[in-house]
């Protein structure tokens, strides 16, 4: 079964592919689009991408498992990623991770039952000047503390 990819996305993908002398080079941009559309990279999604790029599905799987941003499991509507690297830890990230984990009732790497939240820890996000920092989907949040977390989660839970 082929996954449901919108015609507009497919058009975008074709345009992307024209930017590289070899089709396979477009795999990361294409997988990003597929993940945005399907919420994750399903097995059907992998096969679809393999067909599109004219490569073996095993090659797609190899890539999907290498990169931490690509997910083979459905992600929550809000993907919360908290940096657990050095500067953020110095500034209190570890207790924040515990705090969020307790509040949402999920451990890092898990998704809440209602599919609303996924919590993960990540390596340095390149925002150490605002440590502790985190991301929700594509947006950065800096200088986090428990109060700010409460406020943000309340907004999202509306």
């Amino acid at each position: 079964m082929s996954p449901e990819i919108k015609a507009s996305t497919e058009k975008k993908i074709k345009e992307l592919m024209s930017r590289y002398p070899k089709k396979q080079a477009a795999i990361l941009p294409v997988l990003h689009l597929v993940q945005r559309e399907l919420g994750y990279i399903s097995e059907d999604g992998e096969k679809w991408v393999a067909d599109l790029l004219g490569i073996n599905p095993v090659k797609v799987r190899e890539v999907v498992t290498f990169y931490s941003m690509l997910s083979r499991k459905p992600l929550g509507k809000y993907h919360i990623q908290i940096c657990s690297n050095l500067t953020c830890s110095l500034m209190g990230a570890e207790s924040l991770i515990d705090y969020v984990s307790e509040k949402l009732g999920i451990k890092p790497g898990e998704t809440s039952e209602d599919g609303k939240f996924t919590l993960t820890t990540v390596e340095c996000l390149g925002a150490c000047d605002q440590a502790p920092s985190m991301m929700i989907n594509t947006d950065y949040y800096g200088n986090m503390d428990k109060k700010k977390i409460d406020k943000i989660l309340k907004e999202l839970d509306k």
């Binding site: 930017r19 590289y20 002398p21 070899k22 396979q24 080079a25 477009a26 795999i27 990361l28 941009p29 997988l31 990003h32 790029l53 090659k59 190899e62 890539v63 290498f66 990169y67 931490s68 941003m69 690509l70 657990s84 690297n85 050095l86 500067t87 830890s89 110095l90 500034m91 990540v122 390596e123 340095c124 996000l125 390149g126 925002a127 150490c128 000047d129 605002q130 440590a131 991301m135 594509t138 947006d139 950065y140």
Partner: protein, 415 residues
């Protein structure tokens, strides 16, 4: 305040838009370069400017460009390294957010100098919003004829594409970046051959960091002599030092290469938070060996830090105060490298994960007497025995922490 080069107009609102950038004189130099100069003029100016790479290794940019064979019948590529994964580093984000056109102008000049018609900006996947900003900037530049076909009617063509990574620190290493761009796992390649000869799609390729390329427009505007004079050491120009951790004012500070680390921490970043005492400084990103307080009266240039057995790396300064237990630092460092090793070389894969296991054991209070010696032995075994520099980048900071803080680490090991 010393003169700023890259960040001088950062307080201009909407500088990221081409009209504002041009009001500040942007793309003027590019026009002159393309219409009046030859590619070799650009290359020799950048060589004379002693512009060292800002990505980590500090290799002179002009010299690197010179390695690309001139008369080959193959396409050549520029890969802009915007992966910014070295823990502690956030300066390229700053450039791309505030002044994407400065980077683009540098890219066009560089491609003109080396005879390149295709450039890819490999940007870390998390920087999605910045990737969009860059794409918009490219469209603006195309509309004005600074990028695309027949640029400024000079006959020079250049395509620029933003390519997002997907979360893997190793892809910042230049050959892993090439593998990743080709659509594969980011496993570093054996060198030689070097990318200048055999790079992207097996063709000659230049790889430079965002900050490195952003310096090219001002070198071409004001000349190599002026640029060299901006630095306090042999190297030219300024650096965007990113200071984070236990300082009063974390942030990016553009200062002359060769500024004292002590001045950077105490004068510019405001000194240590809450009146605490300084414990140590990591001067050039997590891969750089740690410095104790009596070692920070040092000039921030490649040669001086190398003499102190550390390195300038990406210019990312992480400051630790007296309250930070050193075992926490060691735990974060070893966790990072064991997580990010690509696994191709046994000493790096096994060594880093084993060291991390031992460190976690010490952290839990279950350390054994011989553990520190074991860590030193495992780390020394990685040094010089791996395919890519990540092995050394892991071993060096670990060895420096164990050596300089041995007493404190021993105090975590009871029996």
């Amino acid at each position: 305040m010393p003169e700023k080069i890259l960040t001088k107009d950062f307080d201009v609102k909407h500088l990221f838009k081409i009209d504002e950038y041009m009001k500040k004189g942007g793309y003027k130099t590019l026009t002159r370069v393309l219409k009046e100069l030859k590619p070799e003029d650009v290359m020799s100016e950048v060589k004379a400017a002693h512009l060292r790479g800002r990505g980590g290794a500090g290799f002179p940019a002009g010299v690197k460009w010179g390695f690309v064979p001139k008369d080959v019948d193959k396409p050549k590529y520029l890969c802009v390294n915007a992966d910014e994964g070295e823990p502690g580093t956030f300066k390229d984000r700053y450039i791309m957010t505030h002044n994407p056109h400065l980077l683009l102008e540098g890219i066009v000049m560089t491609c003109f100098a080396v005879g390149i018609h295709t450039a890819y900006i490999y940007i870390r996947g998390e920087y999605e919003n910045m990737a969009v900003r860059l794409e918009n900037a490219i469209s603006e530049a195309e509309a004005k004829g600074f990028i695309g076909k027949n640029i400024l009617k000079t006959g020079f063509d250049l395509n620029v594409t933003v390519h997002r990574g997907a979360g893997a620190y190793i892809c910042g290493e230049e050959t892993a970046l090439l593998e990743s761009l080709e659509g594969k796992r980011g496993n570093p390649r054996l060198k030689p051959p070097f990318p200048a000869a055999v790079g992207l799609f097996q063709n000659p390729t230049v790889i430079n960091n965002v900050e490195t390329l952003s310096n090219v427009p001002c070198i071409m505007e004001k000349g190599a002599d002026w640029f060299v004079k901006q630095g306090l050491s042999e190297d030219g120009g300024t650096r965007l030092f990113g200071v984070s951790g236990k300082v009063k004012k974390p942030g990016v500070y553009e200062l002359p290469v060769g500024t004292s680390l002590k001045e950077l921490v105490y004068t510019y970043a405001g000194g240590i938070k809450s009146g605490k005492k300084l414990k140590a400084v990591i001067p050039g990103g997590m891969s750089s060996p740690i410095l104790k307080p009596d070692e920070i009266d040092i000039s921030m240039d490649c040669a001086s830090l190398m003499k102190a057995d550390s390195m300038l790396g990406s210019g990312a300064v992480i400051v630790l105060d007296e309250d930070v237990p050193i075992i926490d630092v060691l735990r974060k460092v070893t966790q990072f490298y064991s997580h990010e090793s690509c696994g191709q070389c046994t000493p790096c894969r096994i060594g880093n994960s084993w060291i991390n296991k031992i460190v976690k054991r010490i952290y839990r209070g279950e350390g054994k007497k011989e553990d520190l010696d074991k860590i030193e032995k495992l780390a020394s075994n990685i040094l010089g025995r791996t395919l890519c520099p990540l092995g050394d980048a892991a071993a060096m900071p670990i060895l420096s922490i164990v050596k300089k803080f041995r007493k404190e680490l021993e105090s975590f090991i009871k029996g």
